[in-house]
C-alpha cells in the first residue's frame, strides 16, 4: 500500500510535467488530461483510504536513508483522499472558468504542482520532506494567486500571503532542527517513538523539548491557518482566480489543523501549549466572525468567515479534540469550497433576482421586520436555553457515557449550546402561519445535525487515534485543574443564561439606547470596519522599513 501512496502523489506530478512539456501541442486539452489523471488519483486515494479503514495499518516508504519518507497511516490516508477530492472538484470547475483567461496551460500546471505538493505534505514521514512541501505550498500559492500577471493588486496581496507563510515556515524549521539535534534522525515515526518513550529526555533553554517544539509547531500552524495577527493576508487574496480562492479556503488554509494532528505525540507532552492554542483560536474565532458580519463584499465576507472557522479549528486542537479538528477542516473545506465556486453565479443571479422568497423569509432577513406578535419572551428564553442543552447532552451521552470526564468536550458543548440557542432566538420572531410546525422543523434539523456531528466526530477519533491510552493522554494534556474548571464552567453557564434572558428582555422591551452607549457602538463599528487597524499597522511598519533601507542605500551610494 505504501507504493500506492507514491503513485497517488506521482500522478498529479506526471500531469504537471505533461502539461509543461506538451502544453504547446495539447493547448486546452491540458485541462482534460489533468482532470483525467486527478480523477485517477482520487480513485486510488479512495482505495487507499478504504484499505486504511479496514486494516488500520501504518507503513512507510523511504526514498532515501533518512529522509524522503512517505507515511501510510490513518491521518495521511484520510488527508490524501480529501486533498485529491477537493483538487479534482477545483480542476473540473477551472476547466470552463479559466477558459477565457490567458495562461491557461500555466494555470493547470501550477494547480497540478500544488496538488502534488499538498499530497506529499500530508504523507510526509520525515521532517525534511515536511519542510520542503510546507514551504513550497506558500511559493506555489503565491504564483497561483498571481495568475493574472497584469494585476499589481493581485501580486501585492499574493505577496502578503507569501510573506506570512514564509514567516510561519521559520518556526517549523527551528522545530525540525531542534528535533534533529536531539534525536539524530529526521524520521517522524522514530522521533515520536523516542518522545513517547521518554518525554523529559531533552531540554532546550531550560524547557522540556516537547514544550518548545510544540510551541514552534503551533506558531507555524497559526500562520498557515490565519490566526489573529497573522490573518491579514486571508481576506485580501480575492484578487486571485476564484478556483484558487476555493482551493485555498477549502484546503490549504486548513493545514494548521493537519500539522497539529501530525505532531500529536509532541503536543501530549507539551504542558500549557494547548491552552495557549485555545486562547489564540478563541480570539481568532471571535475576531473573524465579527469582521465577517461587518463586510459588504460577499467574497471578503467569506474570507473572514474562513478566519473564524480556522479559529474554531485551532480552538478544538486547544481543548484536545484533535480528530474533531480534522473533521472540522474537511467539513469546512467542503462547504467553503462550494460557497466560493458558487459565489460568482450567485452574484450574477442576484443582479436580476435575489432568489429570496418573498413574504416570511424576505421580510425577516432582508427587511429586518420581525413578527408583530411574538411568543411570551420568558417561555421562549427558557425554551431556547433548555432544548439545545438537552439534545446536546443526550447525543453525547449515547456516543460516550463518560464524556463528562473530558473538559474539552464540555467546552465544545458550550459552543453547541450557544449555537442552538442562537438558532432558536434568530427564528422565534419569524412570521409564520404555523408556529408549532416551524419549531418542530427547527428542532428536527438541529437534532439531526447534532447527532450526525457527534457520531462522525467519535468515528474520526476512533479511526485516527485507535489507542485509548493515547486518546486519554491528549485530553489530559488539554485539561486544567478540575476545581478551577468547574468554577469557570459554572460562571460561563450563568453568564450564558443571564445573557440570553437579557437579550430576550431587550428584544421585547426595546429600551432607548443612551447617548454614551450609542457613541461607544459607533466607535466600535469604526474600529471593526477598519479591521482593527492590524493591516494598516503592518503596512506602516513595512513602509518605514523600506524607506529606512532606501535612505541607508542613498547614504552608502547604493554600494
Amino acid at each position: 500500500m505504501q507504493y500506492l501512496t507514491a503513485v497517488i502523489i506521482g500522478l498529479p506530478m506526471l500531469s504537471a510535467l505533461a502539461g509543461q512539456l506538451l502544453g504547446a501541442i495539447l493547448d486546452r486539452q491540458v485541462a482534460r488530461l489533468s482532470i483525467f489523471l486527478l480523477g485517477l488519483t482520487t480513485l486510488l486515494a479512495a482505495l487507499n483510504l478504504w484499505h486504511s479503514v479496514t486494516t488500520g495499518t501504518t507503513e512507510q516508504l523511504a526514498l532515501a536513508d533518512d529522509w524522503g519518507i512517505l507515511l501510510f497511516d490513518p491521518l495521511s490516508a484520510l488527508m490524501l483522499f480529501v486533498v485529491a477530492l477537493i483538487s479534482l472538484i477545483v480542476h473540473i470547475y477551472s476547466k470552463r472558468y479559466m477558459a477565457e483567461e490567458s495562461g491557461y496551460v500555466r494555470f493547470f500546471v501550477l494547480l497540478d504542482l500544488m496538488t502534488t505538493t499538498l499530497l506529499a505534505m500530508v504523507a510526509a514521514g520525515d521532517l525534511i520532506t515536511l519542510l520542503i512541501t510546507w514551504h513550497l505550498v506558500g511559493v506555489l500559492l503565491y504564483l497561483l494567486l498571481g495568475q493574472d500577471t497584469r494585476s499589481h493588486t493581485a501580486y501585492r496581496y499574493a505577496f502578503w500571503t507569501l510573506f506570512t507563510y514564509r514567516f510561519g515556515d521559520l518556526p517549523l524549521v527551528l522545530a525540525a532542527a531542534l528535533l534533529y539535534n536531539a534525536f539524530g534522525t529526521w524520521s517522524l515515526p522514530e522521533i515520536f517513538a523516542a518522545i513517547l518513550a521518554n518525554p523529559a529526555q531533552h531540554t532546550v533553554f531550560g524547557f522540556p523539548l516537547p514544550y518548545v517544539v510544540a510551541a514552534l509547531v503551533a506558531l507555524a500552524a497559526f500562520a498557515r491557518s490565519a490566526q489573529f495577527l497573522l490573518h491579514t493576508w486571508l481576506p485580501y487574496t480575492m484578487s486571485g482566480p476564484t478556483p484558487v480562492s476555493a482551493l485555498m479556503h477549502a484546503g490549504i488554509v486548513n493545514a494548521g489543523g493537519f500539522l497539529v494532528n501530525r505532531f500529536a505525540p509532541v503536543f501530549v507532552h507539551s504542558d500549557g501549549v494547548l491552552h495557549w492554542m485555545f486562547v489564540v483560536g478563541l480570539v481568532t474565532a471571535i475576531v473573524g466572525s465579527v469582521l465577517m458580519l461587518a463586510q459588504h463584499d460577499i467574497k471578503k465576507s467569506l474570507g473572514y468567515s474562513t478566519m473564524g472557522q480556522m479559529g474554531f479549528m485551532i480552538m478544538e486542537c486547544g481543548v484536545g479534540a484533535f480528530s474533531l479538528a480534522i473533521y472540522h477542516l474537511i467539513a469546512h473545506g467542503v462547504f467553503k469550497g462550494t460557497l466560493f465556486l458558487g459565489s460568482g453565479s450567485i452574484i450574477n443571479q442576484a443582479r436580476t433576482d435575489d432568489g429570496v422568497p418573498k413574504k416570511d423569509l424576505y421580510t425577516f432577513v432582508v427587511d429586518r421586520k420581525p413578527a408583530p406578535q411574538r411568543r411570551p419572551w420568558l417561555l421562549m428564553a427558557a425554551f431556547t436555553l433548555v432544548v439545545p442543552a438537552v439534545i446536546l447532552f443526550f447525543a453525547h451521552y449515547f456516543v460516550e457515557q463518560n464524556f463528562f470526564e473530558k473538559q474539552g468536550a464540555i467546552i465544545l458543548l458550550f459552543f453547541g449550546w450557544m449555537t442552538g440557542a442562537q438558532l432558536m432566538f434568530a427564528t422565534h420572531h419569524m412570521q409564520t402561519e404555523n408556529v408549532f410546525r416551524q419549531f418542530a422543523l427547527i428542532l428536527v434539523s438541529f437534532t439531526v445535525v447534532v447527532i450526525g456531528y457527534t457520531f462522525i466526530a467519535h468515528a474520526f477519533e476512533l479511526f485516527l487515534y485507535p489507542d485509548p491510552a493515547f486518546r486519554a493522554q491528549i485530553h489530559a494534556a488539554a485539561g486544567i485543574d478540575l476545581n478551577l474548571f468547574t468554577i469557570l464552567a459554572s460562571v460561563i453557564a450563568v453568564v450564558i443564561v443571564m445573557g440570553w434572558l437579557l437579550t430576550y428582555y431587550t428584544e421585547i422591551k426595546r429600551p432607548r439606547a443612551r447617548n454614551w452607549s450609542r457613541q461607544i457602538r459607533h466607535k466600535l463599528y469604526g474600529v471593526i470596519s477598519r479591521e482593527f487597524y492590524v493591516g494598516a499597522v503592518y503596512n506602516e511598519i513595512a513602509r518605514k522599513l523600506i524607506n529606512g533601507a532606501d535612505k541607508l542605500n542613498a547614504i552608502l551610494r547604493w554600494r
Partner: protein, 262 residues
C-alpha cells in the same frame, strides 16, 4: 617587534578574509566591482570565485582563532545586506547584495564549529550557482531592454513570457526556495547551530525572511504589469531549454547536496 609583526599578520589575514567572505564595509568593494563590470561572464566569474580565497584562508589557518566579535559582525553584515536589498530596484545590484549577504553567513561554518564531510567550497559554490544563473538571465533582460530596473516597467510576463518564467524560477532559487541548493545550505547552518547558539539560527532565519521579501519585490517590479505597449523578442526554444535544464540541474544538485549535508 616580532609580536607586533605577528599581530599585524593576523590582522592582515583577517582583513583579507573579511574582504572575500565580505563583511561590511568591505563588501562595498564587491558591490562596486560587480556594478562596474557589465559583462555577464566577468560577473559570473566574480560570483563563482570571490568567496573561495576567503574560505581557503579560513581553512588553511586552523590555529588562528578569529576574535569572538567577528561572528557577530559577519551576521550583522549579512542582515544589513539583506535589509538594504529590500529597497533595491536594479536586478544586478540586487544580485550583488544577495551574494554578499549569503557569503557573510559562511563565517558561521568556521565559528559555529560545524563539520562537513566535504570541503566548504562546496557550500560557497552551492550559494553562487543560482546567482550565476540569475546573472546570465539578467544579461538577456539588459540586452533586450537596456537595463533590468524596476523603474523601466518591463512587464516581462506580458512581453517575454519564457524569459519571465525562467527569471521567476531563478529568483526563487536565489532566495533559498526548496529544493534548490541554498535551502539545504541554510538548513545545515541552522541545524548545526540551533542547540549551541540559537541566536545564530535566529539570525539566519531573519536573513532568509528578508531575502524572500526583497525577492518578491524584485519579481513584482520586473514581471508584473498591464498589457505591454511593445512586444519584445523572447528567448528562443534552445536557449530557453538550456536555462530550464540549468534550473533542473540546480534542483537535482540541491537534492544531492541535501543528501550529503543532512
Amino acid at each position: 617587534m616580532i609580536n607586533y609583526l605577528a599581530n599585524m599578520g593576523d590582522y592582515l589575514y583577517l582583513l583579507i578574509t573579511a574582504l572575500f567572505l565580505p563583511l561590511f564595509p568591505l563588501n562595498i568593494l564587491f558591490h562596486e566591482m560587480f556594478a562596474r563590470f557589465s559583462s555577464r561572464l566577468i560577473r559570473s566569474l566574480l560570483l563563482l570565485f570571490w568567496p573561495l580565497p576567503g574560505l581557503a584562508l579560513v581553512g588553511q589557518s586552523p590555529d588562528l582563532e578569529p576574535p569572538a566579535w567577528l561572528l557577530s559582525w559577519a551576521l550583522g553584515s549579512s542582515i544589513l545586506s539583506a535589509y538594504r536589498s529590500l529597497a533595491l530596484r536594479d536586478v544586478a545590484i540586487w544580485i550583488s547584495f544577495l551574494a554578499t549577504s549569503a557569503w557573510a553567513l559562511l563565517w558561521v561554518i568556521r565559528e559555529g564549529g560545524m563539520s562537513f564531510p566535504y570541503p566548504s567550497y562546496l557550500l560557497a559554490v552551492a550559494i553562487s550557482l543560482p546567482l550565476v544563473l540569475l546573472t546570465l538571465l539578467t544579461g538577456h533582460i539588459e540586452r533586450q531592454f537596456g537595463g533590468a530596473h524596476i523603474a523601466l516597467k518591463l512587464q516581462l510576463a506580458a512581453r517575454t513570457p519564457r524569459l519571465a518564467g525562467l527569471f521567476v524560477a531563478a529568483v526563487l532559487a536565489v532566495v533559498a526556495t526548496p529544493i534548490f541548493p541554498t535551502f539545504f545550505v541554510l538548513l545545515k547552518m541552522i541545524t548545526g547551530n540551533v542547540a549551541q547558539a540559537p541566536a545564530i539560527a535566529a539570525v539566519i532565519l531573519l536573513v532568509w525572511l528578508l531575502w524572500s521579501w526583497s525577492g518578491a519585490r524584485i519579481l513584482q517590479g520586473i514581471i508584473v504589469g498591464g498589457t505591454a505597449q511593445s512586444q519584445a523578442i523572447d528567448l528562443n526554444l534552445i536557449v530557453t531549454w538550456s536555462y530550464a535544464l540549468g534550473l533542473i540541474g540546480l534542483a537535482v544538485a540541491g537534492l544531492g547536496l541535501g543528501g550529503v549535508l543532512l
